[in-house]
């Protein structure tokens, strides 16, 4: 397989290619592969400063899997990923279609829409926190002064309202990412196809369903895979907005891992990280299978 691919190049070219790739391979090994293997290795050990460092096999995993806290965090994380990714796909598509049309100020709009994405999450999370604030927050202020609600609402007070508060903040921040990727995909669609469709008398919705959507689907899939993996390791929004409250019901997988690491229980923290990795990995495979990714790419 490899030789089949390489045979079209000269030996010298192949050698050069390896030489050029070596630095990046070293970087990948040092900063990605090495830590990942280290985490996997550590997840089989008891690594707590005040206890002996020893091999414990799957004990860390067994402890985590028998803990109700883990399962509620897993469910919360998956629901969060589902809600955010669906909303991001819908809004991302709408905005990308709008920005793909030619209108005055389109260049500026394309730049402006990126701003939420460019702000570090920890910063935008703080801004959302201030907006959601019970006493001084603008959301309560607007809703009460416009008469939508009689009393102020503690937005982080119940699990469901905290969930939606987190989802809204995340969708606001990461939709631009989906928009930009989709926009690139939309621009790759040749205009001739649309012209042809018009001649054939296809209406706008028909054109969208039969041309735009299928042709942009592979790109959308890539964007959603990225978004899903990101959503599954969500930490910063939760850390700032809820801190796990009320009663630990908004804890995510990464948040539990964080608690283990700060509690100096590195073995358990590593095991949680490995589990998070496995969950993301399985979901990615699911995407690829469901999206018939290989076929689409060809």
């Amino acid at each position: 397989m490899q030789s089949k691919f390489l045979v079209q190049y000269e030996k010298r070219e192949v050698r050069n290619a390896y030489a050029f790739l070596t630095p990046i391979l070293i970087v990948i090994f040092l900063f990605i592969l090495f830590p990942v293997i280290g985490t996997l290795w550590k997840s089989f050990y008891q690594d707590t400063s005040f206890l002996p460092f020893e091999f414990v096999g799957f004990r860390n995993y067994a402890q985590i899997l028998s803990d109700t806290k883990f399962w509620s965090a897993l469910v919360f994380t998956l629901l969060f990923a589902l809600a955010t990714v669906v909303l991001e796909a819908v809004f991302g598509l709408i905005f990308a279609l709008l920005l793909n049309e030619s209108f005055k100020g389109r260049g500026i709009m394309r730049a402006v829409i990126l701003i939420p994405w460019a702000i570090p999450t920890i910063v935008s999370a703080q801004i959302w926190r201030l907006m959601y604030d019970y006493t001084y927050g603008i959301i309560n202020h607007l809703l009460t002064s416009l008469g939508f609600i009689a009393d102020k609402v503690s937005w982080m007070g119940t699990t469901s309202s905290a969930f939606w508060a987190l989802v809204i903040s995340d969708v606001w921040k990461t939709t631009p990412f989906v928009v930009i990727i989709l926009l690139a995909g939309l621009q790759a669609i040749p205009q001739d196809i649309y012209k042809q469709a018009r001649v054939d008398g296809a209406k706008m919705f028909k054109r969208f369903r039969s041309i735009t959507l299928p042709l942009v689907a592979p790109v959308l899939l890539i964007a959603l895979i990225f978004r899903t993996i990101d959503a599954i390791r969500i930490f910063d929004l939760v850390y700032v907005l809820t801190g796990g409250a009320p009663g630990g019901t908004t804890e995510t997988l990464s948040f539990i891992g964080y608690n283990y690491f700060t509690g100096d229980i590195f073995g358990m923290g590593s095991a949680i990280s490995v589990i998070t990795f496995i969950v993301s990995f399985m979901i990615t495979i699911l995407y690829i299978k469901l999206g018939r990714f290989e076929k689409n790419i060809k």
């Binding site: 400063s49 206890l51 019970y134 809820t242 409250a245 009320p246 700060t262 509690g263 100096d264």
Partner: protein, 420 residues
């Protein structure tokens, strides 16, 4: 030519970094005024002893300070030599054998609060730290409002606090819709544990018994937790975001803006409430926290302690620095410049200190009886468990007795794990 220059530069750079010997390093964090204070202290130390000290500045956030110290100690780094530790970590650091026993260094612990040194700084009968400054939970109250509504002293019991808060809140709401009776730290974090310990202990409860067994499920704790829940949900004297947002600064700002009658906070709030831009400047006072009838007021011990790393490469010099920082003069300066409460008891009678902080005599009494959080190495695990279950009860997701029972079961499991 360029290549040669780069090689020369690299060679010079590596030479420079080789030439440095060990240096005494002090790791400390805090607000800018605190760091400025520590710089002055280190300058004075260098003048007196000729030993220069490198100060590593940490964040002001306690959790982040813990992380950076843990990383250095886990890696057995020779620096930092000396560091400040939150009282809640000492159990973990000491049992990891990361702290140098101070007994061999001719350090006199007798002027310090004996109960604190015993409970927090002694590990397996060895002295591993000294309190640099001490903290404890206090009740701040609006004396002008109590007077206005005919109360002549702060509440001694939680029931009195609720009664006063309900009445005054209802009246004050007429002019200030944001007014609350009692604000305290209830978010899901370490501060909740400090608040809960105070209420629990004032009912005769607590977390761990004398043999290290869990007494979390004692009936006193259930009554205490119910009282905390009632502040929010039944009497509605504490805001509904108590269990999601309320940490030290949120609470302090509410009180300082004139939006609260009672506040539970650490002594640091005192100086800020008395600042010129504070709306409650001359209108408040402090008192011990209330208790239940038959119980006694309790204050959770907080504060920062100094210790020497076991991996220090300059232990003799480090001990000198510890001695300097905990000396009468430096401790006095700490009280006068930062308004903090020194770990040395003899400083509390100094006229300069009393002038700077007239409240300090009352505080001394409170600190003498302050209760530490469990000093077991796995404390942070216990804390995480308690945080989740107590917070769930405050949110009204679970009944207090169920939350207490669940926390007790999980904590007993952790204790069993470590007893093996």
């Amino acid at each position: 030519m360029k290549k040669i220059l780069i090689i020369i530069a690299l060679a010079l750079f590596s030479l420079m970094s080789c030439g440095r010997g060990p240096q005494l390093t002090f790791m400390v964090g805090g607000a800018p005024n605190e760091l400025a204070y520590w710089e002055e202290v280190l300058d004075a130390f260098e003048k007196e002893t000729g030993i220069s000290v490198n100060m590593i500045r940490q964040a002001s956030d306690t959790e982040q300070r813990k992380q950076s110290i843990l990383i250095a100690l886990r890696g057995q780094r020779p620096d930092p030599d000396v560091m400040l530790m939150d009282v809640a970590w000492i159990g973990q650091l000491a049992s990891s054998e990361w702290l140098e026993p101070l007994d061999d260094y001719n350090i006199d612990a007798s002027p310090f609060f004996p109960s604190i040194v015993n409970l927090a700084d002694t590990y397996e009968s060895q002295l591993v730290g000294l309190p640099v400054y001490v903290d404890g939970g206090l009740l701040y109250y609006r004396k002008d409002l109590l007077e206005k509504y005919g109360y002549n002293k702060p509440p001694a019991y939680w029931s009195e606090l609720v009664e006063m808060a309900k009445k005054i809140q209802a009246e004050e709401r007429k002019t200030n819709p944001n007014f609350w009776g009692y604000v305290w730290q209830g978010a899901q974090y370490e501060g909740l544990i400090c608040n809960a310990l105070e209420v629990f202990a004032s009912a005769g409860g607590g977390f761990l018994g004398p043999e290290g067994n869990s007494i979390v499920n004692s009936p006193a704790n259930v009554i205490a937790l119910q009282t905390m829940v009632d502040f929010i949900n039944k009497h509605k004297v504490s805001p509904p975001n108590t269990y999601t947002d309320m940490k030290e600064e949120e609470v302090r700002q509410m009180f300082q803006n004139g939006n609260a009658l009672f506040e539970r906070n650490w002594p640091y709030a005192y100086g800020l409430h008395r600042a010129e831009d504070s709306t409650v400047r001359d209108k408040f006072d402090t008192a011990p926290l209330p208790s239940f009838p038959g119980g006694s007021s309790a204050s959770t011990l907080g504060g920062w302690h100094i210790g020497i790393s076991r991996f220090s490469d300059m232990k003799e010099e480090a001990a000198k620095l510890v001695e300097f920082i905990t000396s009468y003069e430096t401790q006095k300066k700490l009280a006068v410049t930062l308004g903090w409460n020194p770990g040395r008891m003899d400083v509390y009678t100094n006229p300069e200190v009393i002038e700077a902080n007239p409240n300090i005599q009352n505080l001394k009494e409170i600190f003498m009886g302050a209760i530490p959080r469990p000093t077991v190495p796995y404390y942070s695990q216990l804390s995480v468990i308690l945080q989740r279950h107590l917070n769930a009860a405050l949110a009204g997701n679970v009944e207090p007795n169920k939350a207490i029972e669940a926390a007790h079961t999980e904590i007993s499991k952790v204790l069993e794990e470590y007893a093996k």
